[in-house]
Symmetry: C2
Subunit: 427 residues, 2 copies
C-alpha cells in the first residue's frame, strides 16, 4: 500500500470519497460496540462462576489457623490469602497486606495518606509548595486521575520498549526533591503492553532520590496475565532489587484479582518493606476493622495456590488471544505500509496501544463514536487527558467477542484512514 504522505491531493480526494462512502454504509448498520475499558468478556467471567460454589451455607468458614472468616479479625487478610497473593506478586507473605476488592483504592489511599501525614513521618505533601509525580506515557488514566485530584503536578516520561526513559527518571528523581513518586505498570504495561527490562528495574532500584519520601508506585496489575504460554514475560523482583541496592523502603507494589476472578469482586493487596508496613498499619487499622475475609477464603479455596492461578489464567488467555489477534490481523492487513499508524503487539495484559499520525487521535475517536464504536477518549493515556501529539489511542479488546472485535477494528481502521486523509488535505 502506498504511504499516505506520498499521495497527491488528487489521490487523497479520491480516497476520501471512497472512505466517506464506506462510512455512510457503516453508519446505516447502526451498530453499538465498546472498546473503551479493560472489561473482561462474558466468557472470561464464566470461567470464575464455579468460585461461587466453593463457599456455601454448609462450608467450614475457618481459616487454616482456625479463625472465623465471618467475624472481625485478621485486618491484614487471612494467612492463606496473603500467601496466595504473595506468590502471585513474587514477594514474601510477611510483606503483604490483603485489602478489599480494589488495588486502585489502595493506591488512592496511599497518595491521600501521604498528602495528610507524609511518608513514614516526612512532611505531609499538602504542606509543600510543590509535589510532583513522574508519569511514564502513554499510561493508565486512573493513575493520573488520582494525582491530578490532589493537585500533584505530573511530568510526562516517554515509555519505550523496555520501560520508561531512565535517564530522565534519574535526572528528576535524583535531583528534584519535589518529585515524590512515579506511576509504573511494569509488566504488560497499560496501554502499550511492554514489560520493563532487567536493566530498567535495576536502575529503578538504584535511584538515589533527592526526596526521602520518594516512592515507586509499582502497579503490577498484569503480573500473571500472559497471552502466550511460550512467550511469558518475566520481570525482576523490584522489592528484592531495592533491598539489594540499599533502598528497601522505596517501593509499594500493588496487585489485584479483578482481572483474574471478577472485576469488583476480587481481592487486592499491597506489598512493601516491613518498615513501610509498620507505618501503613497505623492508618489501615484506623480506616477499617478488616476487609472481606469470606471473599478471601472463597478465592483461596477456588484457586488453591499459584499453580491454580496460572491454570486459570491460561484459560483466560485462550479466550483473550483471538481477540487481540483479530485486532492485530486487521490492523496489519489494512494499515501496513500506509504510514498512518503504528501499534504494539502485546504478549499479555489488556490493551493494544495505537499511535496515529500526530493530530489525528481525537478525530479518529470522534468518527468511531459516530459509527457506534466507543473507544477510550483520545488523550486519556496522558496526564490531564492531554496527549501533546494527539496521537495515542488505547484499544481494549477484551470485552467484545472476537467477531465483534473484528468488526470494531474494521470501523476503527476506516476512521483512522479517513481522519488521516482529512488531516493531510487540510495541512
Amino acid at each position: 500500500m502506498k504511504p499516505y504522505v506520498e499521495m497527491s491531493r488528487e489521490e487523497l480526494l479520491t480516497l476520501k470519497s471512497e472512505l466517506d462512502g464506506a462510512c455512510k454504509i457503516q453508519e446505516a448498520k447502526d451498530i453499538s460496540l465498546n472498546m473503551a475499558r479493560g472489561k473482561p468478556g462474558a466468557s472470561q467471567l464464566a470461567l470464575s462462576m464455579p468460585m461461587l460454589d466453593v463457599i456455601n451455607g454448609q462450608s467450614d468458614m475457618k481459616t487454616l489457623l482456625g479463625n472465623d472468616t465471618r467475624n472481625y479479625g485478621d485486618w491484614d487478610g487471612i494467612g492463606e490469602c496473603r500467601q496466595l497473593l504473595a506468590d502471585m506478586m513474587e514477594v514474601k507473605k510477611a510483606n503483604v497486606v490483603v485489602c478489599g476488592n480494589s488495588s486502585l483504592n489502595i493506591m488512592y489511599d496511599t497518595v491521600i495518606r501521604s498528602m495528610v501525614k507524609g511518608v513514614n513521618g516526612s512532611t505531609p505533601w499538602c504542606r509543600l509548595d510543590k509535589v510532583r509525580f513522574l508519569c511514564p506515557v502513554p499510561g493508565y488514566d486512573r493513575h493520573f486521575k488520582i494525582t491530578e485530584t490532589f493537585g500533584i503536578e505530573m511530568i510526562n516520561i516517554p515509555l519505550g520498549e523496555d520501560g520508561p526513559d531512565m535517564d530522565m527518571v534519574e535526572e528528576y528523581v535524583n535531583n528534584d526533591a519535589s518529585v515524590k513518586g512515579i506511576w509504573c505498570v511494569p509488566k504488560y504495561s497499560n496501554p502499550t503492553g511492554i514489560s520493563y527490562s532487567d536493566e530498567v528495574v535495576r536502575r529503578f532500584a538504584h535511584l538515589r532520590p533527592k526526596a526521602e519520601d520518594f516512592r515507586i508506585f509499582w502497579d503490577n496489575a498484569y503480573c500473571i496475565h500472559h497471552l502466550y504460554e511460550d512467550d511469558r514475560h518475566q520481570i525482576l523482583n523490584i522489592l528484592e532489587e531495592c533491598e539489594k541496592a540499599g533502598n528497601p523502603d522505596m517501593v509499594y507494589i500493588f496487585a489485584s484479582m479483578s482481572k483474574i476472578s471478577f472485576p469488583g469482586s476480587g481481592v487486592s493487596a499491597i506489598a512493601t518493606s516491613l518498615k513501610n508496613m509498620e507505618y501503613l498499619k497505623k492508618f489501615m487499622t484506623t480506616q477499617i476493622i478488616g476487609h472481606d475475609k469470606i471473599n478471601q477464603l472463597r478465592h483461596v479455596r477456588f484457586f488453591k495456590n499459584i499453580d491454580g492461578l496460572h491454570t486459570h489464567m491460561k484459560k483466560q488467555a485462550d479466550l483473550l488471544r483471538p481477540k487481540f489477534e483479530a485486532v492485530l490481523d486487521i490492523l496489519e492487513k489494512e494499515l501496513s505500509g500506509t504510514g498512518i499508524g503504528s501499534w504494539t503487539k502485546p504478549k499479555g495484559g489488556y490493551f493494544i496501544s495505537f499511535d496515529a499520525m500526530p493530530g489525528c487521535a481525537k478525530a479518529i475517536v470522534e468518527k468511531c463514536e459516530q459509527l457506534g464504536l466507543v473507544l477510550t477518549g483520545a488523550g486519556a493515556t496522558y496526564p490531564y487527558g492531554k496527549d501533546p501529539q494527539d496521537s495515542n489511542i488505547r484499544i481494549a479488546p477484551s470485552f467484545p467477542t472476537p467477531e465483534e472485535m473484528a468488526e470494531a477494528t474494521k470501523i476503527f481502521v476506516l476512521c483512522v484512514k479517513l481522519a488521516t486523509v482529512e488531516k493531510l488535505l487540510n495541512s
Copy 2:
C-alpha cells in the same frame, strides 16, 4: 446491701479479705473470656449462613436493570441494594451510595478527604491552624481514633439520656468556626444504648454553624438493631429535619450490615444531600471503579426487602437479649444498693455502659484481665483514651454464650467490688 461509702474501715477490710479470697478461687479456674469488642456471636453468624447459598455458580448475576454484577459498572451500588439500604436508613434511594464492607472506612474517607480537599470546595482542613470535632462521651473509640489520627482536636460533650448536651453543642457549633464536625451514634448509642430524642434531633437540624463546612457525622450503626420488639426506639429522620431547617447539606449518615449479615462481609452506605453527593462523587469515582456488587446482590437476594431485614434482626434479637439480660440481672443482684456502680439498660445495639466509682475503671479492667476476662480498655470510650473520671467501662455482651456471659459478669462484679474497696481504703 449497704452502700460501700457508708462502711467503716473495719467493714471494708473484712469485705476486702472476702473478695481477695473469691479472686483466688476465680484465678485458679483459669478461664478465658472476652467482652472487649462488639463481635456477633456464633449463633448470630449461623443465621446468615443461608445467605451464602443464594448466589452460586448457576445464578443469574444480573441486576434488575440487567447490569452484570460480575463486571465493572454501577460505582454507587446496584439499584436494588441502594434501595434496600435506603429503606434501612429511612432515606431516599437517590441520597444513597452503597460502598464496600465497612462504614468506618467511609467515615475515614470522608474525614481524610476533608483534610486534603475541604468540604464542597471549602478550605482544606489541613491548611487550617485548628480543626475541632465535638465528641459526645462516652462514645465509640474508632470514631475518636480517626479524628485523633489527623490531629483534629476533640472536645468532650456529655451524653445524656436523650442525646448530647445540646446547649454545649449549640454553643460550640454556632460560635466556633474551627468546629467542623460531631460524631454521633443517634440510635442505641455505643456504648450507652440511648437514642436521641426528637427534640435533640431537631436541635441538631436547627444548628447555625459558624463554619460552612461543619458536618454532622451521623453513624446510624444500630438503626434496626432492636432488642425488644415491643419497645423499639424510633428517631427522627435527620436528613429530612435538616432540609426542613434550611440545612440540607449539614449531615452525612452512615450505616452498614456488618452486624446484620457478617462483620467484614456486609455492605455499607453513606446517605447525604444531592449536593454533597455531587462533591463526593468526584472523589469516590477516582478512588475506586466500583465496590463488590456480587456481595450487594447476595444481600439483596437474601434479605429481599426491609421486611426481610426486620425479620432477620428479630432472630438476632432473640439471641442477643438473653446475653444482655444475663449481665443486667447479675449487676442488679450484686451491685444494687452498693452505690459503687451504675449502668445502662439498653433496648438495642451492642453495648452496656457501666460507670464505676470515679478512679476505679482502670483498676477494674486490670483485675478482670488478671482473672482471664478481657474488657474494652478503660478510657476507650473517651477521646485520646482518657476518661477524666476514670469511671466508664463498656461491656460487650454479644460474643460469649449467655452462660459465659453470666460467668463473665460475676467476675466483673467481683473486680468492681474489690477495686472500689481498695480505692476507699486508700482514700
